[in-house]
């Protein structure tokens, strides 16, 4: 009886019920699907980029100044790109070309990749700027000189005048920001304050730019306190 009991248990254990449908093997079908999805994603991204790049901005008519990097020069028509948008310029014998040193130059001195400022007229009938003045700019002209970020102070060192700021919208980033006696500090009411009033955990808005010496450290021109440290609520 006991032997029969043990045999029944062992038999059940040795032959487990299998799943109704076989599970996919970890190999090829799953990997192929992922690869196909990735390919489709890349193709869609490329198409979207092409489409965006081909859209000429619709800007109101009048006297306009377009900036951008030269993408294409086609006889008297120049395509420039700024922030992923294309702008069309038309030049003619009336167009004045100025180089980086403020000397007059000519159309044949232009080349793809150069940064330029084009001033002229845009009318309602055409998206092409009738360019009267075209100025070649230094490279990297379009990098903003200052950044504005709201974040929390993760660390502050009074002795070295450095604070570490973590943006509210991206906790994986952090900025090392130097301050000095020229850094303007403001309260939430925009009244002048002092750097020494800043504390760890406090939310601030920092207006800063890269330092010349080190592109991983920034200099704060202005700090605006968003919150003051919360006082703990008394427990009942």
């Amino acid at each position: 009886m006991t032997i029969l009991f043990l045999l029944l248990i062992l038999t059940n254990f040795a032959s487990p019920v299998l799943a109704l449908s076989p599970s996919p093997t970890p190999d090829s079908p799953q990997t192929e699907t992922n690869e196909n999805i990735q390919k489709i994603r890349q193709a869609v991204e490329e198409k979207v980029k092409e489409k965006l790049a081909s859209i000429t901005t619709s800007v109101s008519s009048g006297k306009k100044g377009f900036v951008g990097d030269i993408k294409k020069i086609d006889q008297n028509q120049i395509t420039i790109n700024f922030r992923n948008q294309d702008f069309l310029l038309e030049v003619n014998s009336d167009t004045v070309f100025i180089d980086e040193k403020r000397n007059k130059t000519s159309l044949d001195k232009l080349s793809e990749g150069q940064s330029i400022l084009a001033m002229g007229y845009l009318d309602d009938s055409s998206p092409i700027l009738d360019t009267k003045r075209l100025i070649i700019l230094p490279s990297e002209s379009f990098q903003p000189k200052q950044h504005i970020i709201i974040g929390s102070i993760a660390d502050i060192s009074v002795s070295s005048s450095v604070l570490v700021l973590i943006p509210l919208n991206n906790k994986d980033l952090q900025y090392q920001i130097k301050t000095d006696n020229k850094t303007v500090t403001l309260t939430p009411d925009l009244k002048t304050s002092k750097i020494s009033t800043l504390e760890n955990g406090q939310k601030i808005i920092a207006v800063f730019s890269p330092t010349d010496t080190n592109n991983k450290t920034y200099y704060a021109h202005k700090i605006i306190q968003v919150t003051v440290p919360a006082t703990p609520t008394p427990t009942p």
Binding site: P16, V59, Q174
Partner: protein, 151 residues
């Protein structure tokens, strides 16, 4: 005897289902491990301009509920001081930077703002940020050229 038989059957069923469940959950874990794992971002330099809306359109650049009434984007002015006016959420903080300086103000009860800023000669990339009472930041960028050249 019947009693023992029943106990054996019940135990057998429990063991069988348990083994099946374990086998099935192992298969599910293996499938999950084959999915690509998101990589954590690594710290990088300041936000690229891809994150900032370039007010490409029109008369009134708009991003979320931040609207710039004046000046128009890509405009040319002949005065180094201009007024930037616009609308966003009430009681928001406005921060504007030009190549010359940075400016701050608060919007009124209706969300309007009006700041005077100084431009440098040539083109100016002006960054406008609005931070609402919920600390949500909205950014816009304008290009304004200061030139007295006769064109």
């Amino acid at each position: 005897m019947i009693k023992e038989y029943l106990i054996a059957v019940i135990l057998g069923l429990l063991l069988g289902f348990g083994a099946t469940g374990a086998y099935y959950s192992l298969q599910t874990n293996k499938t999950d491990q084959n999915q690509p794992v998101a990589q954590a971002d690594i710290p990088t330099p300041p936000p690229s301009q891809e994150n900032v809306s370039t007010s490409s359109d029109t008369d009134k650049p708009v991003q979320n509920n931040l609207v710039i009434d004046s000046p128009q984007n890509y405009t040319i002015v002949d005065n180094s001081k201009i007024n930037i006016t616009g609308t966003t959420s009430p009681q928001s903080l406005i921060v504007i930077t030009t190549p010359v300086d940075s400016y701050t103000d608060k919007t009124d009860e209706e969300g309007h703002f009006d700041l005077t800023v100084t431009l440098e000669s040539g083109f100016n990339i002006i960054q406008i940020s609005a931070i609402d009472p919920q600390n949500l930041q909205t950014d816009l960028e304008l290009v304004v050229t200061y030139s007295t050249a006769n064109i």
